[in-house]
Symmetry: C2
Subunit: 182 residues, 2 copies
DNA sequence: CCGCTCATGTAACTGGTTACATGATTTA
DNA sequence: TAAATCATGTAACCAGTTACATGAGCGG
């Protein structure tokens, strides 16, 4: 039963954050996204606040009854239904969208590389390599930091991101090698 | 000059396809997306047709003047402005969004794995491993096929996807190893 | 007390999804 | 010729973006 509309990535993620940190304010959630290293999570106010309201209306979170911190900020926390929705969102089962080839705007662009004159093509590739190298090192620092701090999950996540970035970097090098003399 | 609104990923990609294949019908473009191995590209009619119209209105493509194939299908082709827009979209420069940590719904979920009871957690991980393995082998076949056919770009793209999937697979194994005992 | 940033919101827009509709062509 | 599927669309909806607004609290 319960065809209660599936959660979006952002919704699932917000529920997850409420689970992770217990009662907290919308802004605390929002900051999490603002601080994210991935540009995918914008944390724009126009996304978060209406979303919180939605979750509230669906009784997946509720304004924490107990007295809260300093002043006038509404704290929300996960309801049992919310916890269940979170688990459902996590899976199993995992969907095709979760497991399949993830989108990658860089890869997409590479497909049409031939539309650029050779010099520009090469400078694009060099820029990509440099940028990726920078991102890799930044994420790997992060990785190291959370490992030292013993935050297992954070560490695993950062590691996943690092592996992905490194795969992209090695791939770009392969592309350069392949197209270098064309 | 020309603050002509940036192209979306889908728009850029469609221009790229017109570049790749020359004059063709909206449906031919659409089929390309429908055939994609990545679930990210849905190829829904409601996305493609209005988009084609948009590109037409912006003079980035135009209905091919010459006589076309069999009957009553409008062929479009890239205009010079369209070609330029494509190159601009490709870069350089590359944006943060293009180079930064790409979104990965699987990685996102892993962050909240702790919300699942241990057995369910493990079965989720096993499902992920199995699914990824399947995807990897499927994409690697593709890779091999295009290598044999000598389609350099297709091959590079497939290779990028394969590397990404393999990175995810290895990562999931690492997660399993790390969490296996608890 | 003045101004800055915090925290919460909202209105307008936009690109993409879902689901349906419709003629044209092919196939059984 | 009847049924299927090709090819093109469209209407309603929806989540997220951009840009603006606002009051509360705090630091000079």
């Amino acid at each position: 039963m319960s065809t209660a509309r599936d959660l979006t990535e952002l919704e699932g993620c917000v529920l997850g954050l409420f689970w992770e940190r217990g009662p907290c304010t919308p802004y605390a959630i929002r900051k999490e996204f603002l601080a994210s290293l991935s540009p995918y999570w914008s944390g724009s106010a126009g996304a978060i606040y209406p979303l919180i309201e939605r979750l509230d209306r669906r009784r997946l979170i509720r304004a924490a009854s107990g007295a809260q911190g300093p002043r006038r900020s509404k704290h929300y926390s996960l309801t049992p239904a919310g916890r269940q929705a979170l688990r459902r969102w996590l899976g199993p089962p995992l969907t095709e969208t979760t497991l399949g080839i993830p989108p990658d705007p860089l890869r997409t662009r590479m497909q049409f590389l031939g539309a650029l004159p050779h010099p520009r093509k090469m400078s694009l590739l060099r820029e990509a390599e440099a940028g990726l190298r920078m991102h890799v090192s930044r994420v790997e620092e992060n990785c190291e930091r959370s490992r030292r701090a013993g935050e297992t999950y954070e560490w695993l996540i950062a590691r996943g991101a690092a592996r992905m970035l490194r795969a992209r970097l090695e791939w770009i090098r392969e592309v350069i090698e392949e197209l270098g003399g064309s």
